[in-house]
Amino acid sequence: MLLLEKRHTRLKHQGLITAAIALGTALAAGAIVMAGYGANPFAAYAAMFKGALGSGFGLAEVVVKAIPLMLTGLAVALCATMLLWNIGCEGQFVMGGIGAAGAVMYLGPVLPQPLLLPAVILCGALCGALWALIPAYLRVWGNVSEILTTLLLNYVAIIAMEHLYFGPWRDPDGMGFPGTPLFPPTAMLPRFGDTRIHLGLIIALLLVVAFHYLLARSKWGFSVRIIGNGPKAAAYAGLNVSRQTLLVMAMSGALAGLAGMGEAAAIHYRLQEGFASGYGYDGIIVACLAALQPRLVPFCALLLGIFIVGGEQLATAMQLPSSISRILEGALLFGFLLSETICRYHIKWASKKTA
């Protein structure tokens, strides 16, 4: 059987070891699945990485995917720093999209045109924040596990979005295709050059920097980290945990909402089938791999972006389902957990002996 003994010294190159084990686990698991499916894993990986990294288009698409991943990763990391599990980024992301589309629908006709885009951005963030406040409030007032409430609300948000684009917000000129009307140019987030990389990149990077400094240097960040050390520490420091829970969840929801806003206002230009494609769940993985540190979030977001774009490329190149990226993500998280154990314990193999 396996025996674990606590390490008393830190491993050298812990970050490298973690990255190697996590990636190795993901690639090994993916290879096993593909081989079992009857595909050549080496050819598949070659197609994936060539597709994601072998061309300007692929690289640009990786960055495009990394934008919402950065925001949702930051959202999950911020909550997890305070021991809150926001598994509801998917729903908050959808609400951000709804907020953006709603701003276009109702504010578009009345606002001066230059003000429309800021309104779209703000509404996206606001709707995400409000959606996250529901589980936050339930946690503070009713002690209800935020893991389950955030998650269940994802389904509600997606049904709400379907209701809107199949019903009241449906594009009359959609030729039977369910979706909201196309955003007008004044509500579109500008893109860079002829890529799909958009202004959301700048917003996301600014927020990463902001939260890095806030968490590391500010009094507020300090109190968040104290609360993250457990309820006893927070009580001892005399911090208002309830207020902080509401605030942090709202911020987290706003970040995820911004991600959804960006996808609506810069990628699809509307709400439609497939809008909720899992960026919210990916955020959990980004946050974990980044060890909950904002400054590492962009790199982990890029890594997951490579997986997602690679999966899409694999679908076109070898007719394999693009959901291979999901398998890699799940295995990546397991690999990360494995590396945590390896960094924390000496793992020894011992034959059964009577203790």
Binding site: L4, K6, V33, L148, G167, G330, F334
Partner: protein, 309 residues
């Protein structure tokens, strides 16, 4: 009127079975101290394995066992990480759900839209002749009858046997159980894997009896609803059965309104009901709870055990 109620009740029973199995399994895992948030992933894979084994063998019993086996295997992975490697169980369970969803989507591609094995309704002799009740409970597929058996059996095992006592002891205070000679790891492994088998069984029920065939993401969050029902049930099997029935009832209402064409409530609001109601029962049970929010949760839930402490 009575016919309508019978119709709704029958569908409610039929719709609650998957959640009931998964919740019963999760009760066992959590009673032993292991939190497994991978239920949704295990159910999805159980559903796919049921379809795959069914199309390979043509035998509904083997198909069901296939779903259970795959659920159990995935749970074994979680058990290894949670019990042996002592990782954060919340994350390990989430990883399992992500992995299960991805795997089922990837491997399920071949089964989309294919005709699948269908479990036939088996009318129980004599019992089905009881007015109303017979119609609701005894004109169902065999897996529904399995739920009638497994729930009381599960409750009996947990509260009336030595093994059940060991399971609960390990979940409340692993160190004490260990001190009197209970093999903590073995009990936890067993309960976690059993939980996975039950989640797989729930999934197989969906793909073999409830809506035969494979559809991507066909569990629609029922795994998460099952986990919530464990809390609602305060870790008691019979209450989990009631919680599952509540879910089934709301699902049945959707069917009823769709079948009768009554637009009392917009269809999308109806679709939200199961999720909102689940949140609602969580609120109610937590507000009624007088034990500072830990509820009736096993004291060692989610805490890895090692002799070094």
């Amino acid at each position: 009127m009575l016919d309508d109620i019978t119709f709704i009740a029958k569908i409610a029973m039929k719709s609650s079975v998957a959640v009931c199995f998964a919740a019963l399994g999760e009760i066992y895992a959590e009673r032993s101290g292991v939190l497994n948030l991978g239920v949704e992933g295990m159910m999805l894979m159980g559903a796919l394995a049921g379809v795959a084994a069914g199309s390979a063998t043509g035998n509904p019993v083997l198909a069901t066992l296939g779903g259970m086996a795959v659920g159990g295997l995935l749970a074994l992975l979680h058990a290894f990480f949670a019990i042996t490697l002592r990782v954060n169980q919340t994350l390990s369970g989430l990883a399992l759900t992500i992995l299960g969803a991805g795997l089922s989507s990837f491997l399920g591609r071949a089964y989309i839209g294919k005709a699948a094995l269908r479990m036939k309704v088996y009318v129980v002799p004599y019992l089905s002749d009881i007015p109303v009740i017979g119609n609701i409970f005894f004109k169902q597929t065999p897996l529904v009858y399995l739920a009638y058996i497994l729930v009381p059996l599960g409750a009996w095992l947990l509260f009336r046997t030595r093994l059940g006592l060991k399971i609960r002891a390990v979940g409340e205070d692993a160190a004490s159980a260990d001190a009197v000679g209970v093999n903590v790891a073995a009990i936890r492994y067993g309960c976690t894997v059993f939980g996975g088998c039950m989640a797989g069984l729930g999934g197989a029920y969906l793909s073999l009896a409830y809506t035969p065939g494979w559809k991507e993401n066909m569990t629609m969050g029922q795994g998460w609803i099952a986990i919530a029902m464990v809390i609602f049930a305060t870790w008691y099997p019979f209450r989990a059965f009631l919680g599952a029935l509540l879910f089934g009832g709301l699902t049945a209402l959707q069917f009823f309104f769709q079948a009768t064409g009554v637009e009392l409530i917009p269809v999308n609001v109806l679709r939200m009901f199961p999720y909102l109601a689940t949140i609602l029962v969580l609120i109610v049970v937590m507000r009624l709870d007088r034990t500072q929010g830990r509820g009736a949760a096993p004291a060692a839930l989610g805490i890895p055990f090692s002799r070094e402490g």
